[in-house]
């Protein structure tokens, strides 16, 4: 058994080591890595390691690339191997110019795998497609939000991925989910998505001022209000900073609003200055202290 493991280990490292020893070209290294990844007789661990070691040149040979796509599509292959193949292909896709000839098959295969029975694979693939603002993926995710029986992903994940395209028609469904969320995570993601909807400012103002609301929700509300209607955020920022019981992250967002939008009259606000001073030296993170120092350097006397 031990000898077997040793041998497997040796093979796992093979693509990289052989490349460096013999000065093999990236294409040759890729070919070896793909051959191991695609070999169903080899142990999944070995195949996964080979896929992880595959260089970006995986797209340089049509045969290698097709073999890698076949692994990704292969419902009989272990999911770990398929995920490793997906990662190798994704890494190659970052090299936009070199990937040009592979892009068509890549997008088509991702669309095929988007409805795979494995939830992790589905999620990863839909994430990649949504980063491309793919209409197919967008349509599937929206269908799932409107009809949970068709959902390929949980609503919170679908909302998060749809957020990659600000021009997707998601605000209405996000508002519905924020009103009647299936779970807290979905509510959070719906609110994050609405953070780009200019008409949602009153909702965020209400959430920010509700001290019984969850801290994370109030922080999302503070950031969204600051982005959508900074003057409204500025209006509430002073009260939040003076409230000793309020959370540091919400205070930090309030401080940013005041630092950006305030005027010189802030310098005369002794209570505010004292509160910010306390915040800058108190038990908070270095990042928040820096935010306070920025404010003080602008308005402090």
């Amino acid at each position: 058994m031990a000898t077997k493991r040793k041998a497997a280990k040796k093979t796992q490292r093979a693509p990289k080591r052989q490349a460096s020893k013999r000065g093999a070209s990236p294409t040759t290294t890729a070919h070896r890595a793909v051959a191991i990844t695609a070999d169903a007789r080899r142990p999944p661990k070995e195949r996964t390691a080979a896929a992880a070691a595959a260089p970006l040149a995986v797209c340089e040979s049509e045969d290698d690339f097709q073999a890698m796509l076949k692994v990704l599509r292969d419902g009989q292959a272990p999911v770990k191997v398929r995920l490793a193949a997906l990662q190798a292909i994704q890494a190659a896709s970052f090299s936009v110019l070199a990937f040009e000839g592979c892009r068509g098959d890549y997008i088509a295969t991702l669309r095929q795998v988007a409805e795979d029975p494995d939830p992790e694979l589905r999620q990863r693939v839909l994430g990649m497609l949504m980063r491309e603002k793919d209409g197919f993926a967008q349509k599937k995710l929206l269908e799932g939000l409107h009809d949970p029986d068709k959902a390929l992903l949980p609503p919170e994940k679908a909302l998060q991925l749809l957020g990659n395209d600000v021009h997707a028609d998601t605000y209405e469904v996000a508002r519905a989910i924020a009103r009647k969320p299936p779970n807290e995570a979905a509510r959070r993601e719906a609110l994050r998505l609405l953070g780009a909807d200019a008409t949602a400012a009153p909702l965020f103002e209400k959430l920010l001022l509700d001290k019984d609301e969850l801290r994370e929700i109030r922080q999302i509300a503070a950031s969204a209000l600051y982005a959508l209607q900074p003057d409204r955020m500025q209006k509430h920022a002073r009260d939040i900073l003076l409230d000793k019981s309020d959370y540091d992250d919400i205070k930090a967002t309030s401080l940013s609003a005041l630092t950006q939008l305030g005027d010189e009259t802030l310098s005369d606000d002794k209570a505010l200055m004292k509160s910010v001073d306390r915040f800058s030296t108190g038990k908070t993170t270095a990042r928040y202290k820096q935010t306070a120092r920025r404010f003080l350097s602008k308005y402090g006397r």
Binding site: E62, E100, I107, G135, A168, D169, D197, T199
Partner: protein, 373 residues
């Protein structure tokens, strides 16, 4: 109306020669049918209209819509549909070639497999067509008119050009161009840029524009008439969340060059410039300022970036803007720049296709001179 109902409507109009002009109406960005649709839904819908145009043959009036997509389109489905539609235009000419080559350069790194089999279909196999393939087929269709494109096509056929699997399409295009022979190269060609969309339903005199209140990049407020009255001006439209680099970002960068052109003509203090956002609720003064600064725009009392704090609908009506929205966010818009005379009336418009900075400066100077007589 559902998307499938829309597709059926388009098919119905396309099948009836008497009603076919109605397809152009459906290509207007401001059409109610596009309200509250995602940008990808609009791509499906407009693509279907372009494919319907192909069935009946693209008219001169429709050509601007087709060329617009080739000029600034970044959605492979729309670009491919435009390329197909162009092949039904009855008068191919050399003036169309730069649009096809430009589209090829714009789309090649974002190309994807496409299906035209039915409305809303997405390809799950790369064996069919794609935007690049449709554009190459269009160059082949242009035949002798595309003779000038041969060097570019030859370069695309070399290593470092298009991927090997597309080289067959390149070869076919080259062959078609060469086989078409010399002939009368320009026979039947029209000037592409003279092709204009039918005039907008409104513009230039809508009531209510006097009540529009604008806020500029510095947060200062001014009435529409107060800024645009008294001397000619150039006004472009944009929004900061636009994700098409060939539209808003380029428009504002080019507006900066127009400003330089006005300065070179020594009329920068006699012709105002403005850019008004389509997205006034989101594009607050700091965003406008940063967007202008990043693109080298001169911003002062006579040259401003604006959002309408009240009367945005009146602005849309006044200029007949080609824009639509999903919620409060723009989902589709055309390129539009207008030159206003000293009475804030529209004296000239540059729409859909990318405009030339020198042409805009020259036209604005002409408007200034006419007004000074």
């Amino acid at each position: 109306m559902t998307e499938l109902q829309f597709a059926a409507l388009v098919d119905g109009i396309a099948a009836d020669a008497q009603r076919r002009d109605g397809l152009l109406d459906l290509l207007r960005e401001e059409h109610a049918v596009y309200r509250d649709r995602s940008a990808t839904a609009i791509a499906r819908m407009r693509g279907w209209v372009l494919l319907a145009l192909e069935r009946g043959g693209v008219s001169d009036a429709a050509l601007a819509f087709v060329l617009e997509e080739l000029d600034t389109g970044t959605d492979p489905y729309l670009v491919a549909a435009a390329a197909r539609a162009l092949r039904s235009y009855p008068r191919p000419g050399a003036t169309l070639v730069p649009f096809v080559l430009g589209a090829l350069a714009n789309i090649r790194y974002r190309d994807e497999p496409l299906s035209f089999a039915a409305y809303g279909h997405y390809a799950v196999s790369a064996t069919g067509t794609s935007a690049v393939r449709e554009l190459l087929a269009t160059l082949a269709w242009l035949g002798r008119h595309a003779k000038g494109a041969v060097p570019q096509l030859e370069a695309l056929h070399e290593p470092g050009g298009l991927p090997p699997k597309l080289r067959g399409d390149v070869r076919r295009a080259l062959q078609a161009i060469r086989d078409a022979g010399q002939g009368a190269e320009e026979a039947g060609a029209v000037s592409c840029c003279g092709a204009q969309a039918p005039p907008p339903k409104c513009c230039g005199s809508a009531a209510g524009i006097d009540s529009v209140l604008l806020e500029d990049h510095a947060g200062d407020r001014i009435g529409f008439e107060a800024f645009f009255g008294g001397q000619p001006s150039i006004v472009a439209f944009f929004y900061t969340r636009c994700d098409n680099p060939l539209k808003c970002s380029l428009t504002i960068a080019k507006l900066a060059r127009v400003q330089q052109g006005l300065a070179a003509e020594r009329v920068a203090d006699r012709i105002r410039t403005a850019a008004i956002t389509y997205d006034p609720a989101f594009d607050l003064a700091p965003r406008l300022r940063a967007y202008g600064q990043d693109r080298g725009v001169r911003m002062d009392a006579g040259h401003r970036l604006f959002r309408a704090v009240s009367g945005n609908d009146a602005v849309r009506d006044h200029f007949g803007l080609g824009v639509n929205y999903v919620g409060s966010l723009v989902n589709r818009h055309r390129i539009e720049l207008h030159i206003l005379d000293a009475q804030a009336r529209i004296a000239a418009s540059f729409e859909r296709l990318r405009w030339d900075e020198r042409e805009v400066v020259a036209k604005a100077v002409e408007v200034l001179r006419i007004g000074g007589r």
